[in-house]
Symmetry: C2
Subunit: 146 residues, 2 copies
DNA sequence: GCACTTTAGTGGACAAAGTCCACTATATTA
DNA sequence: TAATATAGTGGACTTTGTCCACTAAAGTGC
């Protein structure tokens, strides 16, 4: 099926690509947030997660760890907690204006990360890149038919 | 150049892809080594690094941190250190048989990671995947001409 | 040769990130 | 109603990584 040289090519690409993204991510992270904190606040914003447990589950984090992160967010005025009306063991999270502003900033930096990634390419190459990404996305994440 | 929707597609792909690789990596990491330790021992083996400072530089690690990792490796019989003949401040590293065996095991697990990645795809899809990876690799890492 | 600066490796002290466990208070199930 | 499961929290801990200072050996300019 796959030759050893092809596996090696894919492995090398994966290593190089994740490394490159990691380097570009440093710019995204030039914020008060750590990598995981960034994922958490984006998860709250983007997926409209309402409770700590959802976030912990969706991101695969320890619930205790998540709890502490959310406490820090609250302390820094990024979100507010209100008791859940449907389950009084639970809590609902709302981003404050400050929190939303930060999310917006992270979002723009992430967009910039992509532009940086492609900065050295010309229009035709960017088109090729996008098409290749689309192929991978469909194959891995969208269960495209043959 | 890039539409916002395209940027979002790329961002989503990057997030999903790194997440998926991270999950598959857990299997690779079912060894006595942490992620960074794995990178270090592979670097010693693959790039034939001979000195701690080369490893620290190549992997972007703190030299103190690297020193401690290498000490652990020595303690666990994965490598031996010999004084450099050309620079007596420095040290040359050699993997022991045990170290080489571990590298081989990591290598096989990494290959298996790729197979797992593509496990749900049929032959034609695997071919498409490989071609797309090749395109990305050339565009990002091989400075291919237009 | 001799002062000066740089470099390789190490360890102490610390910070950041993440895990594990126990606990309380609710909710769910039988 | 009794037993069990779940949400959230905090204490204690480990792992991971950073920063700084130090020694000993090179390298550099003269």
């Amino acid at each position: 099926m796959l030759k050893q040289t092809e596996i090696t090519t894919i492995r090398d690409f994966n290593r190089n690509y994740t490394k490159l993204l990691g380097i570009l991510n440093r710019r995204v992270l030039e914020t008060p947030l750590s990598w995981t904190e960034g994922r958490v606040i984006l998860e709250i914003s983007f997926n409209h997660d309402k409770t700590p447990i959802e976030i912990a589950n969706n991101l695969g984090l320890d619930k205790s760890y998540t709890s502490r992160i959310l406490n820090r967010f609250e302390k820094h005025g990024l979100l507010t907690k209100t008791p859940s009306v449907t389950d009084s063991r639970s809590i609902e999270l709302q981003l404050t204006d400050k929190g939303s502003t930060l999310v917006h900033e992270l979002d723009e930096r992430s967009d910039q990360q992509i532009r940086d990634l492609l900065a050295a390419l010309n229009d035709n190459q960017i088109k090729q890149f996008y098409q290749a990404i689309t192929v991978l996305d469909q194959l891995l994440f969208e269960k495209a038919v043959d």
